[in-house]
């Protein structure tokens, strides 16, 4: 029975931790046997070995288990010798700690599966509850909270008493409460206290523990559980609205980022640019090339790779945009149907070109450390990559707006799009402005590619998945109006994320499309229609 084995093991770990395992003498027999058992090769053997290792009380136990956890433990199935590969690549014998020159040829990693991983984590929690390292203590407490093994109770209580740090104290108190919830013979007042702790914690894990509690409880405890569950449910329901709002903002920022470039080429210039998505893709591939170069030549710069990629992606996509405008699109102004076909052809050419150069497979673009992981606010999880993308999008939008408003080029762009002939008469080189405008739109699409490479595949098809959404946003927001694109993107994102939990992803998307069709029927020029003479042009 694995459960019994686990709790016995944990009990041993607890006793060990309480006694301070360094002071225990090393037994020769059982410890060596336990180490040798790792060489048997089956998961059951390894699990048993971990248990025996803890029970042996040998000071090397923790080191061996950590090595197993990090996949640095090697075993030779013929000689039954087990080795630890240090983080620095040095090999030592697991049993004796003596340095070994080299791994034997047929030594292989001791395999882990999820069950074994859980056992190891629980065992390590037992060993680190009293660790001098604060983070390790908190981690161990959280681990105990998850496994809520009764055998750990004395250790947790001892740790709780000795603890000075508030955060760790909190973690230990919660771990203790979790154990008490499942302890059959715990007195009712203890259980009521534990339920109160869960209620105060108020998250999904607390709710899960309360739900999983054994059914036979006294009336007072049962009503406390029901009350705590109801209160957690209520607060979670409220938080889930907040969470949907955040997801909506995040999706909106992705839509906006993908659409801003199109808002220039399609919205301002009126070119139906089907190759817009491919500009995004080129930006993403630029990021890939930058990261590859950094990885092979200057690994220390990896965290800055995205910052380096942004200007490069702008230049690459912008240059290709100018090239496309000069060689194809400028001959097709005023002929939307031909433009559509030609740009679509270009998009296929670009896709196949990328496929030929980089291969059809996805390319790995890594997340720099400041874009990995997540943090919690209340009961919602905010991932760093989404947060950064939101900030980045708003920054790009602001810069673009300022550029159009305050620079000479921006002024010329607006002049040319509003009244081409008048602008030409004033001495503006309209065809040069056209090329630069198209280049600007494409360049911004390239920048979008840098950000999107963090959350999506970097494959030749990357652009295709964004082209429809981008057109949707620009048309919905109102062609020719950047603010419309902003409002359009965020309203579509938020509407989508509030529909998704009820309707599912497929129906949600359909519902959004239907809503847009209805909206366009009512207001064919989108949310923010341009007024005045420009409309007639």
């Amino acid at each position: 029975m694995p459960l019994i084995r686990l709790s016995r093991l944990l009990f041993a770990a607890a006793v060990l931790a309480l006694a301070g395992f360094a002071s225990l003498p090393a037994h020769a027999g059982p410890f060596e046997d336990a180490v040798a058992q790792f060489a048997e090769g089956s998961f059951a053997d390894s699990e048993e070995a971990v248990g025996k290792l803890i029970a042996s009380g040998n000071p090397r136990a923790a080191q061996i288990i950590t090595a197993l956890q990090d996949q640095r433990l090697y075993a030779d199935s013929d000689t039954k010798l087990v080795f630890i590969k240090g983080a620095d690549g040095k090999i030592t014998s697991a049993a004796t700690g003596e340095a070994v020159a080299d791994l034997p040829d047929n030594a292989s990693k001791v395999k882990l599966n999820n069950k074994l991983r859980r056992t190891v984590e629980a065992a390590m929690a037992g060993l680190t509850l009293l660790s001098p390292d604060l983070d390790k203590r908190i981690q161990a407490a959280q681990q105990v909270f998850k496994s809520h093994e009764e055998a750990m109770l004395p250790t947790v209580e001892a740790a709780l008493k000795a603890e000075k740090n508030a955060a760790a104290k909190q973690a230990f108190a919660e771990a203790r409460a979790a154990i008490l919830l499942f302890k059959a013979d715990a007195p009712d007042p203890d259980k009521l206290d534990a339920i109160a702790v869960m209620k105060a914690r108020g998250d999904q894990e607390a709710l899960a523990l309360l739900t999983a509690m054994p059914a036979q409880q006294s009336a007072a405890v049962n009503s406390a559980i029901a009350g705590a569950k109801a209160s957690i449910d209520r607060s979670l329901a409220m938080w889930s609205m907040v969470q949907n709002g955040w997801y909506g903002l995040s999706l909106g920022s992705v839509l906006l980022l993908a659409a801003i470039g199109l808002a220039i080429t399609f919205g301002v210039m009126g070119v139906i640019n089907m190759a817009h998505g491919e500009m995004v893709m080129l930006g993403a591939y630029t990021t890939f090339v930058v990261q590859e170069t950094i990885r092979t030549r200057y690994p220390a710069l990896f965290d800055y790779s995205l910052l380096i990629a942004v200007p490069l992606a702008f230049l690459v996509a912008g240059a290709i945009g100018v090239l496309i405008e000069r060689t194809v699109i400028r001959f097709l102004y005023g002929r939307p149907l031909e433009t559509l076909l030609a740009t679509w052809g270009i998009s296929l050419l670009l896709q196949q070109a990328v496929r030929t150069i980089f291969g059809a497979n996805n390319r790995e673009v890594g997340n720099p450390s400041w874009m990995s992981g997540a943090f919690d606010i209340g009961q919602i999880t905010i991932t760093y990559n989404r947060l950064w993308i939101l900030c980045f999008t708003l920054a790009v939008f602001a810069i673009l707006l300022a550029m159009l408003r305050y620079t000479a080029l921006g002024l010329e762009m607006r002049a040319v799009t509003q009244n081409r002939r008048m602008a030409a008469s004033m001495g503006i080189a309209t065809s040069r402005v056209d090329a630069l405008t198209f280049g600007l739109g494409s360049g911004i699409a390239g920048i979008a590619g840098v950000a999107l490479s963090q959350i999506d595949n970097v494959s030749p098809n990357l652009g295709q998945s964004y082209i429809i959404d981008s057109f949707m946003v620009v048309v919905f927001g109102g062609v020719g109006n950047l603010w419309g694109t902003l409002v359009g993107a965020f309203s579509l994102g938020i509407a989508n994320k509030f529909l998704e939990p009820f309707a599912g992803a497929v129906l949600g998307k359909i519902a959004i499309l239907v809503l847009i069709i209805l909206f366009i029927q009512k207001r064919p020029r989108g949310l923010f229609a341009l007024k005045g003479r420009a409309v007639e042009a």
């Binding site: 090769g41 998961f43 996949q71 882990l112 599966n113 999820n114 069950k115 991983r117 859980r118 984590e121 998850k146 999904q204 709710l207 899960a208 309360l210 999983a212 969470q243 997801y247 995040s250 999706l251 210039m269 009126g270 194809v328 400028r330 001959f331 102004y333 005023g334 896709q351 496929r355 291969g359 059809a360 497979n361 996805n362 790995e364 997340n367 990995s372 992981g373 997540a374 999880t381 991932t383 760093y384 990559n385 081409r420 065809s431 056209d434 999506d456 595949n457 970097v458 494959s459 098809n461 295709q464 998945s465 020719g480 994320k497 939990p501 599912g504 992803a505 497929v506 420009a534 042009a537």
Partner: protein, 444 residues
């Protein structure tokens, strides 16, 4: 917006140049498609998308076929004749698959075709193979519910992948609550229908099963992943069975990693994620999530080592991964060669008759056999994702002792198909109803 543009004198020249370039490109492409061969060679058709969305998966299969044919020619070909590959590109466009298949059979006169990936592309070429009576080897795991005289299925049927994976989770991880997460098309929908029926037959309550679909290429997984998190915190061990296909996997796994769902809490077992798909992701946060396949690159057998070595030499790229459908083509191609040698003819009818019963060693130490229902016997492996993007086999404990599971065309867990049987040797029928004793029944 109406924009008038004055054209300068240089325009006609540059346009002509543009047209010339385009024409050159078209010529180049068509020359690629229809290479003519000498008469003493036998042609083998390769029908895999080299462009469009499916190119990501199918290009590799084209390459492995070229390698296998090349290798066979070095051994002297088949029946004294050299083989010649005819590669066409159906461009991930389902109707084009049928067109290209017809072109391969009627115009290029190929003896056999290896191809298709998605079920919809297979369904689109089926009538062509039936009408023109040729042979298709289909190398990808699929939803079953089909057995055709002209098609040989070398990928896994649901009972060779999905059901063993679920069994593993029930037994080893004690999973009580299930999320069936898939892309919205025929393979996930049918597989999930089978799994749902199977789980219910094992006593799983309907409220402990959540089925969820997302569109193709879905990239914003925040809501879905947090839904899984919520569903998983009901106090029972929860697992996700993923039939998410293609490009949607990368953002899905990235979101799992970012939201901190670890394999020890909620394991995800995937049926469409192989070494190739993992090549595009940082797998460190995914260690411990699972995949069920009939082959893993990491399986340590002499056959597999030799195959990988040859693959690296052929592609001149020591980093190219191998995967399950590649092994399926390896088995299928060798079975076809053996069947041709047995029939002493390239005639499709004779080869079709010779194929059932042909045995071929697979790359994981077993011997696969072509069954009368045109599916093959395969071992089932459950692998855990490692930090280096490879899989570590966790079931069976000893790879060499893996049992071979015969592929079942008609699932035993769906009401419409449990009475059906496919047998092209004795019954000469792909959907024989064992209740009404008639061929062509669609279930009771």
């Amino acid at each position: 917006m109406h924009i008038k543009q004055k054209r300068d004198a240089g325009t006609p020249i540059s346009r002509r140049r543009w047209l010339a370039a385009a024409a050159g490109l078209v010529l180049g492409l068509s020359a690629f498609g229809s290479a003519k061969a000498a008469d003493d060679t036998i042609k083998v058709g390769i029908l895999h998308s080299l462009s469009g969305t499916m190119a990501i998966s199918e290009t590799t299969l084209k390459d492995v076929m070229l390698m296998l044919i090349d290798e066979q020619n070095k051994k002297g070909g088949v029946l004294g004749k050299k083989l010649e590959a005819v590669v066409v590109d159906p461009a991930s466009n389902w109707p084009l698959f049928a067109e290209k298949a017809r072109e391969l059979i009627t115009k290029d006169k190929v003896s056999v075709v290896f191809g298709c990936w998605t079920s919809v592309s297979r369904k689109s070429v089926l009538p062509v193979f039936k009408e023109l009576d040729s042979i298709l080897f289909y190398p990808v795991q699929y939803e079953g519910e089909e057995s055709e005289r002209n098609v040989f299925y070398t990928g896994a049927a649901p009972n060779q992948q999905a059901i063993p994976a679920v069994d593993y989770l029930m037994k080893e991880e004690k999973v009580k609550r299930w999320v069936l997460e898939g892309t919205d098309y025929v393979y996930p929908r049918t597989t999930n229908k089978i799994l749902e029926a199977y789980l219910k037959s094992k006593g799983v309550a309907p409220e402990d099963i959540m089925v969820n679909y997302t569109p193709f290429g879905f990239s914003d997984w925040q809501t879905e992943v947090s839904k899984i998190k919520t569903f998983g915190s009901a106090g029972k061990k929860t697992a996700v069975v993923s039939t998410i296909n293609g490009d949607a996997n990368v953002p899905f796994y990235k979101e799992l990693g970012n939201q901190g769902i670890k394999a020890t809490d909620i394991p995800v077992v995937a049926f469409s994620v192989g070494e190739e798909e993992l090549a595009g992701i940082d797998t460190k946060p995914l260690v411990g999530h699972l995949a069920a396949w009939n082959y893993f690159e990491s399986i340590n057998t002499p056959e597999n080592k030799a195959f990988i070595k040859e693959w690296h030499a052929f592609t001149k790229n020591p980093k190219r991964t191998t995967n399950d459908p590649m092994e399926a083509h390896y088995i299928g191609f060798n079975m076809w060669v053996k069947a041709v040698e047995k029939a002493k003819s390239f005639d499709p009818d004779k080869v079709i008759e010779a194929l059932p019963g042909i045995k071929q060693a697979n790359l994981t130490g077993g011997v696969s056999e072509m069954l009368p229902n045109h599916h093959i016997t395969k071992p089932v492996f459950i692998g855990e994702i490692q930090a280096d993007g490879q899989f570590n086999v966790v079931s069976p404990d000893d790879v060499k002792k893996a049992k071979l599971v015969p592929g079942d065309a008609w699932s035993d867990y769906l009401p419409g198909s449990k009475d059906l049987e496919a047998d092209w040797v004795k019954l000469k029928c792909g959907n024989y109803n064992t209740v009404t004793k008639k061929c062509g029944g669609q279930g009771s």
